[in-house]
């Protein structure tokens, strides 16, 4: 069943268009993550669903009902803000109860809802404290508790972990994942610029860029079959390597000639019309392996070595002002700066993008 549906939704401030024709259906019980670089419109889109920003074009439906002009409180949504947005003058209990008090719900009902949320989030010892007497992680839990008390159809999270330190961010991320598991019926929309959060939490990821949806899909789909060079380079860290190449053989698998390099066969079908067209060959740093033989894909001189223990990241010198390659090798490698090494990758780990930056998979 569709929970949230966006049809041709767009947003413009005067003549500046920040979101264009967004089409998206979110199923009940899904956790959808909007991810993208700053300024891509992901927070604006979330705020439009919340009703904090007006929708200047298209339709927003929640549970099949058009909600474009419905006041935020009646949309059946609850939002968790990046800055927590707790009411600083109210105790934790009052913060969570505020919405129900405004709705004039009976006291017994309010108490039951607050106690339930406090139990789920282990906030019981802090109910009578003011937000300033809580740590950042606890404050964010209160903000989530306030959302749970509202018993919404859709939870909206606006970069909820950005204000937490690194260790707490990981812990809270896992808590949110557990929370989602304990509430399989609730739909959640989660905005972040952090791809680790997106990969770990999402049932589906929506990649936004420049006011458009670039790709929608399950996390590993986006990783394994990115629709275009933007998604390919946005998902995964370090970003996917891109090298210019030319198609030499079409068919069920495609052979390309890397400019000033070797030939490579990619397990991606191509049409006869692609013959000798200029393409970009993509390969993830972690898919590159060292090779001694003559059957190599790429060759380069190591410029910087980052030994992280679990992995070793090699940064290669760029040729002719091009961006240098990056390779991420498992474990500890004894490769020094200035070494010339040869790299290769399995044919099924290679990606091909046409001149319009679109993946061969999605044409």
């Amino acid at each position: 069943m569709t929970s949230v549906s966006l049809k041709d939704v767009s947003k413009s401030y005067g003549s500046v268009e920040v979101l264009r024709n967004i089409n998206l259906d979110i199923e009940k019980g899904e956790l959808v993550v909007f991810v993208g670089p700053s300024g891509c419109g992901k927070s604006t889109l979330l705020r439009m669903i919340a009703g904090l920003e007006t929708i200047t074009g298209g339709d927003l439906q929640i549970d099949g009902e058009r909600m474009n002009e419905t006041p935020p409180a009646q949309r059946g949504i609850a939002m968790v803000f990046q800055t927590y947005a707790l009411y600083p003058h109210m105790s934790v209990r009052d913060n969570m109860a505020f919405g129900m008090k405004i709705a004039k719900k009976p006291k017994s009902e309010i108490d039951a809802a607050v106690d339930n949320a406090a139990r789920i989030l282990q906030l019981e010892p802090y109910l009578d404290r003011l937000p300033k007497a809580l740590s950042g992680g606890q404050r964010q839990r209160v903000a989530i508790g306030r959302a749970i008390v509202r018993d919404p159809k859709v939870f909206l999270f606006d970069e909820p972990l950005s204000n937490l330190d690194a260790a707490l961010r990981v812990a809270t991320r896992i808590e949110i994942a557990q929370l989602k598991e304990s509430m399989p019926e609730s739909t959640m929309i989660y905005v972040t610029h952090d791809q680790v959060e997106a990969m770990t939490l999402a049932s589906r990821i929506v990649v936004l860029h420049g006011g458009n949806i670039e790709q929608v899909g399950a996390p590993l789909d986006l990783y394994e079959r990115p629709a275009n060079t933007f998604v390919a380079q946005f998902i995964g860290s370090p970003a996917m390597n891109m090298v210019a190449a030319q198609v030499t053989e079409t068919g069920a698998s495609t052979t390309v000639q890397i400019r000033k390099g070797a030939a490579a066969t990619v397990q991606v079908p191509s049409k006869p019309g692609d013959q000798s067209s200029l393409v970009q060959l993509g390969v993830r740093p972690e898919d590159l392996v060292l090779t001694e033989g003559s059957d190599f894909l790429l060759e380069g001189t190591v410029a910087i070595v980052e030994a992280l223990g679990e992995t070793t990241v090699l940064y290669f010198e760029g040729k002719d002002g091009e961006v240098g390659l990056i390779a991420k090798l498992p474990g500890i490698q004894s490769i020094g700066k200035g070494t010339k090494v040869r790299l290769t990758a399995a044919p099924d780990k290679l990606h091909l993008f046409d001149a319009e930056d679109v993946s061969f998979h999605y044409r």
Binding site: A50, G51, L52, P71, P72, A73, Q74, I77, A78, M79, F81, Q82, T83, Y84, A85, L86, Y87, P88, H89, M90, F98, G99, I102, A103, R146, R150
Partner: protein, 329 residues
């Protein structure tokens, strides 16, 4: 022209002397404790412990001369007779307790105390909240703030015209009487109506102080995190509920500071009463009563006693105000 030149020269000389003092003493200090050589570290520490006193010295000296000394002298004077020469013990204080004029002043001062800070803060808060929401808010703000620039005596003159009364059969030029007559009522001598005239005088101070309250509270309202307001919108609160339950509680500290600042001002209210009624018709206040005994009654002792009463009333509010203002930061 000559006076103007003299004023400019003395201003330049004054500023020059200040600059010379700060620069000169700093130079000398650095000369005594140079920040180099083998004792550089120790010298820097020593110089830094002395420097604040050098820079604060002139201010402390002036404050002592013009604030602390008068306070001590007032306390002493309050135990002396009219000329300040004969010791009379607590006679001035026992006179004060039984004096009808003092009781009237005290009562009026308390009235002022309850009405003016409350009304100014209230109107200031309303003005701040409303002007933030409209396109011509800045113009409205300027207009509301403008009375702050007028002296109390100037404001009194303006309001004297508002409350003015002319004889029968003459056209009423006072705004208030003009309205009353236009509505078919009888013109009144507003500022001579016992008890009520106090409120007509208070209106003047409220008119002046609302602008002050508005400016401070407007800044405080803008400092409220927008997300808390948005969260309240999502929680279903209407604009009035957001204002009363989310915004006002968050700026409560600032409201209290504005309130007490105006309270302190009200305790010292003098010019308006002097200019409007000079304490006649039951509108006397403490500061004007003190002034009366000082320059008309020529009784330094009683005057100083009233001054002490005002000071004792102001001090606790002052302490609370400073504490609250510090807490806000």
């Amino acid at each position: 022209m000559e006076q103007l030149l003299l004023a400019l020269v003395s201003m330049a000389a004054g500023v020059g002397a200040c600059v010379l003092y700060f620069w000169g003493t700093n130079k000398i200090l650095d000369g005594i404790f140079p920040a180099r050589g083998e004792n550089a570290g120790r010298n820097i520490l020593r110089a830094n412990s002395i420097r604040p006193w050098l820079f604060l010295g002139p201010a402390i000296a002036l404050l002592t001369l013009y604030l602390i000394y008068p306070v001590i002298n007032s306390v002493i004077l309050s135990f002396y007779g009219p000329s300040g020469k004969s010791y009379v013990g607590t006679a001035n204080y026992s006179w004060l307790i039984s004096d009808a004029g003092f009781r009237e002043s005290l009562r009026n001062n308390l009235l002022w105390l309850f009405v003016v800070p409350a009304a100014s803060t209230f109107f200031g808060l309303i003005a701040a909240a409303l002007t933030d929401r409209i396109s011509w808010g800045n113009i409205a703000k300027s207009l509301i703030f403008m009375p702050m620039a007028i002296s109390f005596v100037g404001a009194s003159v303006i309001w004297k015209f508002v409350y003015d009364i002319r004889g029968e059969n003459i056209e009423q030029i006072g705004l208030l009487n003009a309205i009353v007559v236009a509505l078919g009522g009888e013109p009144q001598a507003w500022i001579t109506l016992p008890f009520w005239n106090n409120f007509f005088l208070m209106v003047i101070l409220i008119w002046i102080q609302t602008g002050f309250a508005m400016v401070i509270l407007s800044a405080a309202l803008r400092g409220i995190p927008e997300e808390t307001v948005e969260a309240a919108v999502l929680d279903g609160a209407n604009p009035l509920q957001i204002f009363m339950k989310i915004k006002v509680p968050q700026i409560w500290g600032t409201i209290a500071v504005v309130w007490t600042t105006i309270t302190i001002l009200v305790l010292k209210v003098f010019d308006i009463v002097l200019a409007m009624t000079n304490g006649q018709w039951g509108s006397q206040v403490l500061a004007n009563y003190m002034f009366d005994w000082m320059f008309r009654g020529l009784d330094f002792g009683r005057s100083a006693t009233i001054a002490i009463v005002i000071m004792v009333m102001v001090i606790p509010i002052m302490i609370w105000n400073i504490r609250e203002a510090r807490k806000d930061v």
